[in-house]
C-alpha cells in the first residue's frame, strides 16, 4: 500500500510532440482514482509513466515516498491490468498468475497459497489449469485481475480493463472491481474514456483534456460543479445543455426566460443546464423559457424531450406521463444553473 505523487510530470516525444503537460496529482494510500477523458487526452500515457512503461521526460513520480522515474517496472511494486488482458497464451491460468512471483524467486508454497487465494476471491478456481484461449472474455478479465492481485502490490494500475467486454458484462465487472478494491484497500489508478464507469468507480476523478488536468474531485463534486464547459459536457448522461446567453447582474436571459446564476456576472456567458434539472410549468409562468419540440425518446421511467431554445439544441428529461404540446415552458431547479465564461469556458462562481 502506498501513496503516489506526481509533480509537474510531462511527456514529450522525440519529434517535440508534447502529450502530457505538467501534471500535479497526489493520490492517497488506498484511494481509487480514475483518469477519465476522450481518446488522445494523455490518460493512458500518464498511467504508463506511473507503470514505468514510458519514460518520464519532465517532473517526478513517487510511489510510497520513493522517486521511481528511473526504476524498472518490475521494481516499482505495481501491478497492471491491460485492455487486451495480455495473458500469456501458452501458459495455463495458474502459470499466468504465478509467473511474476516465480520471477521474484518466491517460495513455492507461498506462490501456491497466493494463487489459490486469488482464485477463490475471483472465483476462477475451476479453470486454473486451462489456457486463456479456452476462457470467455469475462473469465480472461478475472484472470488478468488475478495476476495483479497475487502480487500484493503497492498499487493497481488499470488501463481500460473493461472496454473489450459487452455492455452487460461491463456493468457486472465494474461492480466487482469496486468491491474488490474496497476489500483489498489497495491504491488504484484506473483509466477509462467511459464517464459512467469513471463516476461509478472513483473515489476521486481526474478529468483530462489535451494532456492537461481539467478538474480533480469526487464524482459528485465534478458532476455538481464542473470546472469548465469541457467537464460539463463530458461528465453526465444525457449531456448537459450548453447555450450562449446574455447575463445581467447574475441573471442569464434565454428563450424569453430568466435563469439565475451563482455569480453576479454580466455580458455574454455560456449557460449550462442538465436535462434533469429543468421542470415544465404553465405557459406564462414568470421567468420560464420556451423549448420548441423536435422529437421525443421514451426511456421507460422517463422521457427525453429534444428540441431547441432560441435555435440552440436543448434536451430535457421529464416524467414518462408528462403531457407535451408543440412547445414546453421550462424553469430551472433552484441553484441548478451553471455559468461559464464564454471565452475560456471556465466556471463562473
Amino acid at each position: 500500500m502506498a501513496a503516489i505523487t506526481l509533480e509537474a510530470v510531462g511527456k514529450s516525444y522525440a519529434g517535440g510532440v508534447k502529450v502530457v503537460h505538467s501534471i500535479d496529482l497526489a493520490i492517497e494510500d488506498g484511494e481509487f482514482v480514475v483518469l477519465v477523458g476522450p481518446s488522445g487526452c494523455g490518460k493512458s500515457t500518464l498511467l504508463r509513466m506511473v507503470a514505468g512503461l514510458e519514460t518520464v521526460t519532465e517532473g517526478q513520480i513517487s510511489i510510497g515516498g520513493r522517486m521511481v522515474n528511473e526504476v524498472e517496472p518490475a521494481e516499482r511494486d505495481i501491478a497492471m491490468v491491460f485492455q487486451n488482458y495480455a495473458l500469456y497464451p501458452h501458459m495455463t491460468v495458474r502459470q499466468n498468475l504465478a509467473y511474476g512471483l516465480k520471477n521474484r524467486k518466491m517460495a513455492k508454497d507461498e506462490i501456491t497459497r497466493r494463487v489459490d487465494e486469488a482464485a477463490q476471491i475471483l472465483e476462477i478456481g475451476a479453470f486454473l489449469d486451462r489456457k486463456p484461449r479456452a476462457l470467455s472474455g469475462g473469465q480472461r478479465q478475472r484472470v488478468a485481475m488475478g495476476r495483479a492481485i497475487v502480487r500484493e502490490p503497492a498499487a493497481f494500475l488499470f488501463d481500460e480493463p473493461l472496454s473489450n467486454l459487452d455492455a452487460k458484462l461491463r456493468v457486472q465487472m465494474r461492480g466487482e472491481i469496486k468491491q474488490l478494491q474496497a476489500r483489498l484497500g489497495t491504491t488504484s489508478i484506473y483509466v477509462t474514456h467511459d464517464q459512467l464507469e469513471a463516476m461509478t468507480l472513483a473515489h476521486r476523478l481526474v478529468v483530462l483534456n489535451g494532456g492537461r488536468i481539467e478538474q480533480v474531485g469526487t464524482p459528485l463534486e465534478v458532476y455538481r460543479k464542473p470546472a469548465s464547459t469541457f467537464v460539463a459536457a463530458f461528465i453526465g448522461s444525457p449531456a448537459m445543455n450548453l447555450l450562449e446567453a446574455r447575463a445581467e447582474g447574475g441573471v442569464a436571459h434565454v428563450g424569453g426566460g430568466r435563469v439565475p446564476l451563482e455569480a453576479a456576472v454580466s455580458g455574454t456567458v455560456t449557460l449550462g443546464l442538465r436535462p434533469e434539472d429543468v421542470r415544465p410549468v404553465d405557459a406564462g409562468t414568470d421567468g420560464a423559457f420556451v423549448l420548441k419540440l423536435a422529437y421525443v425518446e421514451e426511456l421507460g421511467a422517463q422521457k427525453l424531450v429534444h428540441g431547441t431554445v432560441e435555435g440552440h439544441k436543448f434536451a430535457c428529461a421529464l416524467p414518462s406521463d408528462a403531457l407535451l404540446g408543440d412547445e414546453l415552458h421550462l424553469v430551472p431547479e433552484p441553484g441548478a444553473a451553471h455559468g461559464f465564461d464564454a471565452q475560456s469556458g471556465k466556471r463562473l462562481g
Binding site: 507503470a51 514505468g52 512503461l53 524498472e72 517496472p73 518490475a74 505495481i78 501491478a79 497492471m80 491491460f82 485492455q83 487486451n84 495480455a86 495473458l87 500469456y88 497464451p89 501458452h90 509467473y99 511474476g100 520471477n103 521474484r104 495476476r147
Partner: protein, 282 residues
Amino acid sequence: MVENRPILNILAHLVLILGVLVVAFPIYIAFIASTHGPTDFLSGLIPLTPGHDTWHTYMTMLTTGMQTSGMPPLSLQMMNSLIMALTIAIGKISISIISAYAIVYFRFPFRNLAFWLIFITLMLPVEVRILPTYKVVADLGMLDTYAGLTIPLIASATATFLFRQVFLTIPDELMEAARIDGAGPMKFFWDILLPMSRNNIAALFVILFIYGWNQYLWPLLITTDASHYTIVMGIKRMADVADSQPQWNYIMATAILAMLPPVLVVIFMQKLFVKGLIETEK
C-alpha cells in the same frame, strides 16, 4: 460447389486421378527397378512388376556401398545427409530467431543497416556466387568438413523475416506485462516469445529439413572425400560411371532411399509443411 453437374464432378476426379498417377509413376518405376537383379535390365525394357532381389540390393547398398565407383555405404551417406539437414535447419532457425528478436525488440545504432544487409542476402542465391563462395570456404580450410557443408548455408533472410513477422503480430502488452512481472530481455525470449513461436518454428523446421537434405550443388563442390558424401549428391556420382552400363537397380535403390526421409516428413507433417511453405513466402 455452386450447382450439381455430375459430369464435371467425374471430370474433376479423372483429372485428380491422372495427376496422382503422373506423380506416382516415376517413383513406382524406380522402386520396381530397385527390386530386380542386375541381369533383369539386359532384356532392353524396364521391368514393370516387382523382382526378387529387393533385400539383397538394399542391404548391399546400405552396408557396403558400390566399390566400383568408390561409393561408401549408403548408411554413412544418409547419416551425412541427416547431419547436414539437421544442422542447417537448427542453425538457420537459431540464428534467424535471435537476429529477428534483436531487430524487433531493441533499438540500437546500425539496426537499419543490419536489416538491409540481411535483406540483401535474399538476392544472393548460392548458384549466383558459387565460385567466389567456394574460394572463401577453401581459404578458410573448410573443404571436406561438416562446417563447410553447413555454415555457409545457414544465413537466411527468409527465416529472419518470418520470425520478424511473427514477433510483430505479438501484442506489445505481452512484453509490458512480462516486464512488470519482472522478466528481463532473455527471460522474456525464453519464457514467452519462444513458446509462442513454437508452431512457426516447427513449420519452418519441416521446410528447412527438406531444404538441407536436398542440397546438391553445394556438397558436390565442397566434398571430394567420400566420407563426407551426402546421399543426394552421391546418387549422381554413382550414375556417372563412365563407359559401363549404369547399375540401374543400385541407382534406383539409392534414389528411393534419398527421397524417403523428406517425403515421409511431408506426408506425416503435412499441416506443418503447408503452413511453413505458405508462411515463408509472406
